[in-house]
Structure formats: structure tokens, C-alpha cells
């Protein structure tokens, strides 16, 4: 598992002298501290600019200047994205309930363990409701979650009152891809690291080691990202993807990072590009 960081460090301990003296190429960057593990969480990503029904960036992680990040492609990652539905001035029933329609995005059941309803803290659906006239915004108790009918009923609201709500649910429509992007003005370059349908990503048991998704491509299972490169999560879907932590979306990527002194920025970008290829 020798990655780019390892290569830049050189072959420590292996001191065989070549038969013919070869002038070593200048390393484009030199690690100045040992590589340490770095887990990219959902909170580490910032929002992209999603365009509905176009493959576009929903979340991005930008590698800081002076740092090299290597994604561990052979280790499982987790990714659960939530569709965001907004309701404004929706009247609750006489029983204090509101039915939320997820049919536009296809509500999907993940294999994650769910509580017995009615409950809050459901892995697939989170709803926050606030009376439209003002009041306390709180997580609503879920009464039913109907995956085949794509609807969710929340309960415990004040009867016959208008509510605004933010509903987040695991969705199944569209495709998702992970790309490494080197922004260079209008001339950015991107390498796709992973792609799948949103449905397959969400229906897969990501907690089980045998089925969890992996990147698994490229040089030796390690995917380097240079300084200012982005790990971009892109989605082509009719669903508006939530980028806020209250949606309880999950991202969990195993990586290693090393502080580097960059001598040749273009050269480093080129070797990152070559290794991603």
C-alpha cells in the first residue's frame, strides 16, 4: 500500500546503489510530518451548488493548502444522503397530524435498525416542524413511515394549526458519483472515483464489512488529493439533497493526511492526476 505520500518520502531503509548513477528527479513535494489518519465526516463537507436533474456537486471537501490527502480506496466508506422537502403553512389535521409526500424522490428503506414507531430518531426520516405563526421548532414524532406509498405521517402537533416543516428522507432516484476535482479556473480537471445509483447506495448495508461500498480503483487502492483539490460528491437527481447536519446525513471516508512542503505545484498536481487515473 505504497501511496503518493510514501513515494514522496522516498525509500527509507532501502539503500541499494543503482549500477548506473541516475539523477533522481526532483520531488514535487516533501512531507514535513508523518501521515496521520483523517476521517472525513459529513460535517467536514461544505455545500456545493446542486442543479436538479443534472449531475452536479452537492457536497465538497477541499484539501487545505500545504496538505496532501490520501483516500483509502480499499477500506469501506459510508454515504447516506437525504432529500430535503420543505413545507410551508401546511395545516395539521384535527388529530394533530401532517402527512408528508415523498413520492417525488422515492423514499427508500435503508438496512439500518429503526425504532418502533411512533418515535423520533429514525435512521431514514427526520422531520422538524414549527407553527407558521411562530413557536418552538422541534423534531416531530413519526407516526408511520410508508416506503411503498412514499409517505410519512408526523403526529403530536397542535390540531388544526398551520405548520412549516423541513423533512429529510433517504431517497432512491438518481445517480451519485464521487470525483476528485482539481480546480484550475475554468479548466478544472476531474477524475471519477466511484459511481452508483442512489438506490443501490442507500439499500446496501454499509455497516456490514462484506457489502459496504469501497472506491477500489487506481494505483494501489490509495487516492491522493493534492492541496486545494476537492473531493466532490455529485448527484443527478430530482431530489434536493440536504447539506445541513440536522438532516443526519452520513459521510465517513477513511483517509490519511500529511503536511507537505510543495516545491513544484504543477508537478504535484500532475503526479496526483497520474495516480488517480
Amino acid at each position: 500500500m505504497a501511496g503518493l505520500i510514501q513515494m514522496l518520502l522516498g525509500r527509507a531503509g532501502r539503500r541499494s546503489t543503482p549500477a548506473v548513477a541516475v539523477r533522481a528527479p526532483v520531488r514535487p513535494a516533501v512531507p514535513i510530518a508523518p501521515a496521520v489518519p483523517r476521517k472525513l465526516r459529513f460535517e467536514d463537507f461544505s455545500a456545493g451548488a446542486q442543479v436538479l436533474n443534472v449531475l452536479s456537486q452537492v457536497l465538497k471537501f477541499e484539501v487545505p493548502r500545504g496538505e496532501l490527502l490520501e483516500l483509502e480506496g480499499s477500506r469501506p466508506f459510508r454515504l447516506q444522503l437525504m432529500a430535503h422537502l420543505v413545507g410551508a403553512s401546511v395545516a395539521s389535521s384535527a388529530g394533530g397530524e401532517i402527512t408528508i409526500d415523498f413520492s417525488a424522490v422515492d423514499l427508500v428503506q435503508t438496512p439500518r435498525p429503526a425504532p418502533t414507531l411512533p418515535a423520533i430518531g429514525h435512521p431514514d426520516v427526520v422531520v422538524y416542524a414549527v407553527p407558521s405563526a411562530g413557536g418552538t421548532r422541534a423534531e416531530a414524532t413519526l407516526k408511520t413511515v410508508d416506503y411503498s406509498g412514499d409517505s410519512v405521517v408526523i403526529q403530536g402537533l397542535t390540531p388544526s394549526t398551520n405548520y412549516d416543516y423541513d423533512a429529510y428522507g433517504v431517497f432512491g432516484l438518481g445517480q451519485v458519483s464521487l470525483r476528485a476535482i482539481q480546480p484550475a479556473g475554468s479548466d478544472s480537471r476531474a477524475v471519477e472515483l466511484f459511481n452508483d445509483t442512489v438506490l443501490a447506495l442507500h439499500e446496501t448495508d454499509q455497516a456490514a464489512g462484506l457489502t459496504a461500498p469501497r472506491l477500489l480503483r487506481g494505483a494501489r487502492g490509495l487516492f491522493p488529493l493534492g492541496p486545494k483539490w476537492q473531493l466532490s460528491i455529485e448527484v443527478n437527481s430530482p431530489a434536493s439533497v440536504a447539506t445541513v447536519a440536522e438532516s443526519r446525513s452520513i459521510a465517513n471516508f477513511r483517509a490519511r493526511r500529511a503536511a507537505v512542503a510543495v516545491r513544484d505545484a504543477r508537478g504535484l498536481d500532475a503526479s496526483v492526476q497520474r495516480r488517480l487515473g
Partner: protein
């Protein structure tokens, strides 16, 4: 120097080596477990950490999966612990029962890379702290935080 080969000791919240088991403060890195190497004992933590974790709040409800776990070492005379670079969340653990977490098939998703291992000489402490929105109640039935340390007599 260790005079014997290492053998394994299973640490859990009620183990004799756990000298403090405190609840954390919500949204602050705090609380947790303190493991101290007793006299004449030498403990070794591997870089690749494979605990079995199931933690609850006093409700009881499962601890928020976004809780982060920090592992550090505090020597005698240290004001603050030195934390290992690898920090992990409970996302990997929260969807699996403890029995599933012991399943070899799930090892790949559960093993956490701490970046470095750790050696505890006698009197030195391993500090496990938590940072998340929920407060741990260590008295709840079914609570687990188990892992192995290498053990040797000095």
C-alpha cells in the same frame, strides 16, 4: 523493559484497570474512561483499534452516532493528555449489535486507524474522551466499550 511476551487483556468499563468512568458533557470533548497501568504492568495499544461499542444515554436511547471518540495518553505530571491523531465517530458501530460487531465479516468497517499505537508504563493513563450531543450513562444495561490491550509484566 518487558520481561515476558505480550498477552492480551480485555478492557471493559468495569475492568479493574479502569480507574475512572465519568459521563461526558454534551458538545464538549470530555468524560469517558481512564485506564491506568498498575504497578509492574506494561500495557500496549495497537494502532489498529477494534473496539466493541454500545453506549446509551440515561433515557435510555442510543448515543448519537455522530459522537466522536478521542484516545489519548496522560503521563504522570502531564496537565493534559496527548491525543492520538486518529479520531473516529460511532457511525460505524451504531447500526450493529455487539454480536454483529464481533463478527469477523464486519471487521473491515469497524477497525479504526489511530495513526499510532501507545505504550502505557506503570502509572500512565490512557484517556478515552467523547464529543457529541448526548451524555453517556455508563450504568445502562447493555453498555459496552470493549477492546484488547497487550499486557506484560515489567
Amino acid at each position: 523493559m518487558a520481561s515476558q511476551t505480550l498477552r492480551s487483556v480485555k478492557i471493559h468499563p468495569d475492568h479493574a484497570y479502569v480507574v475512572a468512568k465519568t459521563s461526558n458533557t454534551a458538545n464538549v470533548r470530555s468524560g469517558g474512561l481512564v485506564i491506568e497501568a498498575p504497578n509492574n504492568v506494561f500495557l500496549v495499544l495497537d494502532q489498529f483499534f477494534a473496539p466493541v461499542v454500545k453506549l446509551f444515554t440515561s433515557a435510555p436511547a442510543a448515543l448519537s452516532a455522530s459522537t466522536r471518540v478521542f484516545i489519548g495518553k496522560k503521563r504522570k505530571g502531564d496537565d493534559t493528555p496527548t491525543f492520538l491523531p486518529g479520531v473516529f465517530t460511532l457511525h460505524d458501530f451504531s447500526d450493529l449489535t455487539t454480536a454483529q460487531q464481533r463478527d469477523r465479516d464486519n471487521r473491515d468497517t469497524l477497525v479504526q486507524d489511530l495513526g499510532r499505537g501507545m505504550v502505557l508504563r506503570e502509572g500512565e493513563q490512557m484517556i478515552i474522551e467523547f464529543d457529541g450531543p448526548d451524555v453517556i450513562d455508563w450504568t445502562q444495561a447493555g453498555t459496552a466499550f470493549e477492546f484488547n490491550l497487550g499486557w506484560s509484566a515489567v
